[in-house]
């Protein structure tokens, strides 16, 4: 099992969610986060004075899937979250030791 953690532009949440649903991913967790990458934010003007917008709002999507699904999930997220512009985000893949469904106590891939 792998945890796939995708940090994407907020308006890409719905396209990614729908695409993952079509792929058969049954569960995901999201969070509103702020962050900065190589783009290093940008400056704006308010009342004639500059200010740095260095932490940009993003959405973090977490999905845990069986190993054989990882490739397709990553491809799906890439296809649905990409705009080609700076600030499209990142995907991280992290190994998962175990998973347990709280209601039944099932373990491993059965709990996903």
């Amino acid at each position: 099992m792998k945890l796939i953690k995708a940090i994407v532009k907020p308006f890409k949440l719905d396209p990614v969610k729908d695409a993952l649903h079509e792929l058969g991913v049954t569960g995901l967790t999201i969070g509103e986060v702020k962050g900065v990458g190589r783009q290093k934010g940008h400056t704006e003007l308010y009342r004639g004075a500059e200010y740095q917008v260095d932490l940009v709002p993003k959405v973090e999507i977490e999905v845990v899937v069986a190993d054989d699904l990882v490739g397709r999930v990553v491809e799906t997220i890439l296809a649905s979250a990409k705009t080609g512009n700076i600030g499209d985000g990142k995907i991280f893949i992290i190994p998962i030791e175990d998973a347990i469904r709280v209601r039944t106590g099932e373990r491993g891939e059965n709990a996903l």
Partner: protein
């Protein structure tokens, strides 16, 4: 009032009076004196209602100011900022009731449009160069004695809401760092002394109004609805106190350059601006103190034109200079146009009103940059630029653009108010003296009041730590926006016990 409107009014008053006359005197035909009295009484009644309703509109501007100032500050100080805007209404009002109104209006004389009551007639004057010059009034403390009269009460309500407009201007310039206790004490001085003395000079029969009759300068100081008395006064208080209090932490860098500190609720500030635009109809058109004066239509239209022009020119300026039409400057530009037209609204043509507003919109953008980069003052909401700079511009614009069609009898001078472009230089002189007098009296008395307040409240400024964490919790005890509640609220112990049993 034109001859035609006078006849229309007389006719309508007669129609209203007829039933009373018929029922009261079925036998004899109505006497001409009775008809004349009914007409006069109805005119007075119309004026009473107009003054009160216009005053209610101006009172509602307090909500507009609260929204503008709170929207332009940060979320961590929102409870504090809105509470200052809320309490200034009552604190300054009570000081004005005790002391301020008497100082301002104690010598105002006959309230001609409100029935002619003339017992507010004691003015403290000095005798210089063979003439009397008024300094402050001395009747009407606590609204008792001769002031216990319906005309005076109507006049009090209308003048009180104007004073409160002034008192709420500095709270924006000093937001996010001013101790609430210091705000409370200082506001007593604004409502009790600082504002009323200048208002006496400009509106209460004081020396500025006498510049026409005594010194031949046009009609004397002509400030129809208060670009000077209200807005320049508020702006002068703001600039002096902003300098004394110092900038917010993090506003200026070590090399003197300024950082932007964006407000947390731009939509609220824009709604507030619209409320101010609405209240301004009462502010300006109400200042006729007479609903029977058809000039109220000219005044209301000039007011809306100048506000629109100010918003437009500010938008063009910030868009071309800074790349985007910053909404906070659109709001400031609109208010700048309204502030500037407040003095000349009754005396100028529509094209002049638009020009005054356009100039105000540019001026406020220039002033915001000037105040921040050159004077190094931190004014979070632009109060100095909107009310100070444009209050002065409004006063000066009377001396330039007054077209000589209105204002006969103002300050005891028979001619209409006439500006430089229409052939009279004297009026501009009176206006410039008014600007200087405002800066000196309001600036000086503000400095003294500030120092006294500082002694009473042990300083004006919150600690660095309080400022960093936001004033809401340490000063007011409640945040403006509690964190989103995702966890269920804890149940009271009793409820849990009942469920268990």
């Amino acid at each position: 009032m034109t001859a035609k409107s006078r006849w229309t009014l007389a006719a309508s008053a007669l129609v209203l009076a007829i039933p009373g006359i018929l029922f009261a005197q079925t036998a004899a035909p109505p006497k001409i004196e009775d008809v004349a009295k009914a007409v006069a009484d109805n005119t007075t009644s119309i004026n009473f209602v107009w003054v009160l309703v216009a005053g209610f509109l101006v009172m509602f501007m307090q909500a507009g100011f609260a929204m503008v100032e709170t929207g332009f500050t940060r979320a961590k100080n929102a409870s504090h900022t809105v509470a200052m805007n809320f309490m200034v209404y009552g604190i300054a009002m009570l000081a004005y009731w005790v002391l301020g109104f008497a100082l301002q209006a104690g010598g105002v004389g006959g309230l001609s449009t409100l029935g002619g009551y003339d017992q507010m007639n004691k003015l403290f004057t000095v005798h210089i160069a063979g003439k009397d010059w008024g300094l402050f009034g001395m009747r009407g403390f606590f609204l008792t004695g001769v002031a216990y009269n319906a005309s005076v009460f109507a006049y009090f309500l209308f003048q009180m809401v104007f004073m409160d407009t002034t008192a709420t201007i500095p709270t924006g310039a000093l937001a996010e760092r001013w101790k609430f206790s210091a705000f409370c004490v200082f506001s007593l001085f604004v409502g009790g002394i600082i504002y009323p003395v200048f208002a006496n000079w400009g509106w209460g029969g004081g020396w500025l109004t006498a510049l026409g009759a005594n010194a031949g300068l046009g009609n004397g100081y002509a400030d129809f609805a208060g670009s000077g008395v209200v807005h320049l006064t508020g702006g002068t208080i703001a600039i002096v106190t902003c300098w004394l209090l110092g900038p917010r932490r993090g506003k200026f860098n070590a090399d003197g350059t300024a950082n932007a500190i964006p407000g947390h609720d731009i939509p609220m500030a824009m709604y507030g601006t619209f409320i101010l635009c609405f209240g301004w109809f009462g502010f300006n058109a109400g200042s006729t103190l007479a609903g029977s004066d058809s000039r109220i239509a000219v005044i209301a239209v000039n007011t809306m034109l100048a506000g629109a022009a100010g918003g437009m020119s500010a938008m063009i300026y910030v868009w071309t200079r800074f790349g985007k039409p910053d909404p906070s400057m659109l709001a400031n530009g609109t208010l700048a146009g309204l502030v500037a037209i407040t003095a000349p609204c009754a005396f100028v043509t529509a094209p002049a009103a638009v020009f005054i507003g356009l100039a105000a919109g540019f001026l406020v953008c220039f002033a915001v940059t000037f105040v921040e980069r050159t004077l190094k003052l931190d004014d979070p909401v632009g109060a100095i630029s909107v009310h100070g700079f444009n209050g002065a511009w409004g006063l000066i614009s009377v001396g330039l653009f007054a077209d000589g069609t209105y204002g006969a009898g103002l300050n005891g001078v028979a001619s209409n108010v006439t500006g430089l472009l229409y052939g009279s230089a004297g009026q501009l002189g009176a206006q410039l003296i008014g600007v200087c007098a405002n800066l000196m009296w309001v600036g000086g008395s503000t400095f003294v009041a500030w120092k006294i307040t500082g002694l009473i409240t042990r300083g004006h400024r919150v600690s660095a730590e309080v400022e960093e964490m936001g004033l809401d919790m340490p000063e007011m005890g409640v945040p403006a926006y509690p964190a989103q509640e995702t966890l269920p609220a804890p149940q009271p112990a009793a409820a849990v016990l009942r469920q268990a049993s």
